[in-house]
Amino acid sequence: MKFYKDHYDVIVVGGALAGLSAALMLADKGKDVLVLERHNLPGGIATSFVRGGIEIEAALHEMMSIGDKDNRLKVGKFFDDMGVDVDWLKVPEAYHASLPGLEVTLHPGLERFAKEVDAAVPGTYDKVLRLLNLCHTVFDSVNELSIHPMSKPMMLLKHEAFVKTAGYSTKEVLDTFQLPQKALDLLAPYWIYVGSGFSDLPFTIFSVLMADYIGYGSFIPRKFSHEMSLKMAERAEAMGVQIEYRQQVDKILVKDGTAYGVRTARGDEIHADYVICSAYPNKVYTSMIEPASAVPAGAVKMVNGRRLSLTAFSVIMILDQPAEKLNIRDYSIFRGDTMDTDALYKNLAGLGPYRYLTCICHNYGNPDCTPEGTCSFSITVLPRVDGWKTVKAEDYDAVKHRVAKQLIDDMSAYFGVNLLDHVLELVIETPMTVARYTGAWNGCIYGYAHTMEDHIIARLQTAEAERFIKHLEFSGAHAISGDGMGPAVTNGRKAAKNVLDTMAEEAAK
């Protein structure tokens, strides 16, 4: 039996957001694309599951880079352009910050946000707005330069703020604003979505994060992230992409330094001109390239020289009361006993007790997402892989329950309601859960840490030299733009663009 064509233009390994974005873009340009996904669903962790008849979001807190219908940002626009018609719901707030001495709910819109910070920490309006505007200026430059690169002198002229902040950490730039600690604390909660402490987080990344989320708000699909993933997959198939589920790729085949196909766990050898891979470079360069001798030493040094970023631990509950009856009043709560992000980053290297929690009550963004009289509430910590790497299979269940209980107890104390008295359904997702369903290297969902040693601008500068194997591109959280579902789309598009550019260059020769 013949399940595959003799040849494809491009094989995409991994049918999550990055892989599907790449497939959409390539199909849009008339390329013949095969997507191989190891699970029986698209989306990777951008998915949902059903427990006790109730559908539950698996991972998405809030999607950035979407924008309102009449003012789309890059990811929202890409979906519109590709005909991926997601039913987006706007999240009503930025977040509720529950920090030492602060209980403040903040909303998107730069001026509104600055006013709300000012109400909590009087006299900070001008400085906070100036900071947010700086973030926005850098954000605009990043978006502009990602489409239209230009020379360094030209950049300095036209994108001064971007250039002059590029070499600094978030802390270094924030220090120049001389804001009171409480105002800084209120600006910090989203740090976890980029996963480095402020002394090591590039200000460029902080800028993009703040401008995107605070400037334009965030969105969720009405029927959970599975709606988004499925609509991407369906659209890709309608455009002629072949998607095959339950096909794990074991090997990427390379000849004369050029990728020419893959071999699946089932044993199918499939050929293509290009391979776009969502598996981590760590795995690809150490065990997937065939022959192994085709891996240059530089590739191994590169993956060894990078630090894996965060993974995820969530306890997701369906509770048998409406949210307000349990004193849950916000879509998103960030709660910490400090907002010293460097200290929190250290805390994430262990196995708890964790000091910084992120909670989502989807009902505030999507009121009908659970049956009447119930609500959905999740508590997430995004730990580093370090601690979880030490957990043995025989201790795994005890560790996961201990950590889950700590998170629930902390939030129960905060609400003054024992959440454990209201659990209809409870699911604990761990780094191992991520590994089980996606195969992600060490269950890491964030790719490589955004640090001053692995700065996005440096990644862009050296990207060409890091395409170690010809006709092999990487997409996923481990690619240049890093973690998050929005950046995943950007990473996929970048991989597709590289393929299209190479095709054009080689055709021109």
Binding site: K2, L134, K223, R266, M302, A435, N442, E453, T462
Partner: protein, 394 residues
């Protein structure tokens, strides 16, 4: 604008690029393949394994227990008491899968001597795999299996410490696993099993359960049949009997035949138990789909043409209106992955490209967006026209 000074400010991009390249230069060139988090995921969920029948025992006059070990001698996966395993049976040109609750304890699967056991009763003429197991399977036979699936297990952060298990017939098996785990001191709960049978000779694992009775495990047999010498509880698993064995805060786990579920739903209503305290095991493939609400009776004798797409390959097979798409595929020798066969797990998620199906309303565990795009769980979907589907390549 200025951060620290013009020269330092404009040199930022070069500085960070240099830092990155230096980090790579000083990194080791030795490949690091360790993925310990993935290793734990694989120890719990290794996927399909080859297992060998290591022992067969009588569990009642009509039931046998089958003990499995790994064919390669390796360690069995971790799982929770109450979960099931899926066994693939190669019969003729077909591979037919069945889920069976594991009746041994998770702790019995550990170590070199570790094993898993299922307990299977002869059918009453309608379950040819159950009969095949009882009649033909022998020690040394090898199967492909997936061990440790399903949501029917005690969750300490959700369930009450006091658990009343309501078992009917062969539905005792997940509770046998739980009881063994509790008795071994490996599961922290108090378990009372109310086990409904017609007559005492129907009781499966009777001696084994008796041996587990103790501080934290209680087994109460409830007989509905005419047995004059019976000293224990009589009747059905009624609200009255359930109440008698309940603590003020109790979680009820229920596993048994479909008719028992319909009966118990009514009985439990009388006791005013919060929804979060009641957990039903999935009941398996509908025995007779025509008895479910909304089934199009006028089609029940029809056979439809089912076009099956796998990759770019297509087959055309027959599909009876009263048999699920999974059964039609298995009959035709087309492999499809299944788990619970109750519409819950989604292993058999299938896209209907054209044509129509009836989905068993009590086994509809689909995601909302999947419904919108014509996906079904093939074990719970029945053809109501000629149709074309796409399934994964196995």
């Amino acid at each position: 604008m200025k951060v620290k000074g013009f020269l330092k400010d404009v040199g930022g991009a070069s500085r960070v690029t240099k830092a990155r390249l230096e980090a790579f230069e000083s990194a080791s060139a030795a490949p690091v393949r360790e993925d310990p988090i993935g290793d734990v995921a694989r120890a719990w969920h290794p996927g399909r394994l080859r297992v060998k029948v290591d022992g067969i025992k009588t569990a009642s006059p009509t039931a046998k227990s089958f003990r499995f070990v790994r064919e390669d001698g390796g360690e069995l996966p971790f799982f929770y008491a109450g979960q099931y395993m899926v066994i693939d049976f190669e019969i003729g040109k077909s591979v037919i899968s069945r889920p069976y609750s594991i009746s041994s304890a998770p702790s019995q699967a550990r170590g070199k001597e570790g094993f898993v056991e299922i307990t299977v009763r002869r059918s009453r003429g309608d379950g040819f795999i159950c009969d095949h197991l009882n009649d033909n399977v022998k020690v040394g036979d090898v199967f492909t299996a997936q061990i440790g699936l399903g949501q029917f297990y005690y969750e300490p952060l959700r369930d009450a410490k006091h658990v009343v298990a309501l078992a009917g017939g062969v539905g005792i098996t997940p509770f046998a696993s739980m009881a063994r785990e509790v008795a071994a001191g490996r599961l922290d709960m108090d378990l009372t099993i109310l086990y409904g049978s017609v007559v005492s000779t129907d009781i499966i694992l009777k001696d084994e359960l008796e041996a587990l009775q103790g501080d934290r495990v209680h087994v109460v047999h409830v007989l509905s049949g005419d047995e004059p010498d019976w000293k224990g509880e009589r009747g059905f698993l009624s609200a009255e009997i359930i109440k008698k064995y309940s603590a003020p805060d109790t979680t009820y786990f229920i596993c048994g035949p479909q008719v028992m579920y319909r009966f118990l739903r009514e009985e439990l209503k009388k006791l005013d138990i919060p929804a979060r305290r009641v957990r039903f095991e999935v009941f398996g493939q509908a025995k007779d789909i025509t008895t479910f609400e909304g089934y199009p009776m006028e089609l029940k004798d029809r056979t439809f043409k089912l076009t099956v797409r796998r990759g770019i390959h297509e087959d055309v097979i027959d599909a009876k209106a009263t048999e699920s798409l999974v059964v039609a595929l298995e009959r035709a020798g087309i492999r499809i992955e299944t788990g619970c066969r109750s519409g819950e797990c989604g292993f058999c998620r299938t896209k209907v490209l054209s044509g129509s199906v009836y989905v068993c309303p009590e086994n509809d565990g689909r995601r909302a967006a999947d419904r919108d795009f014509g996906y079904v769980h093939a074990c719970a979907a029945y053809p109501t026209s000629d149709l074309t589907i796409k399934i994964p390549i196995e």
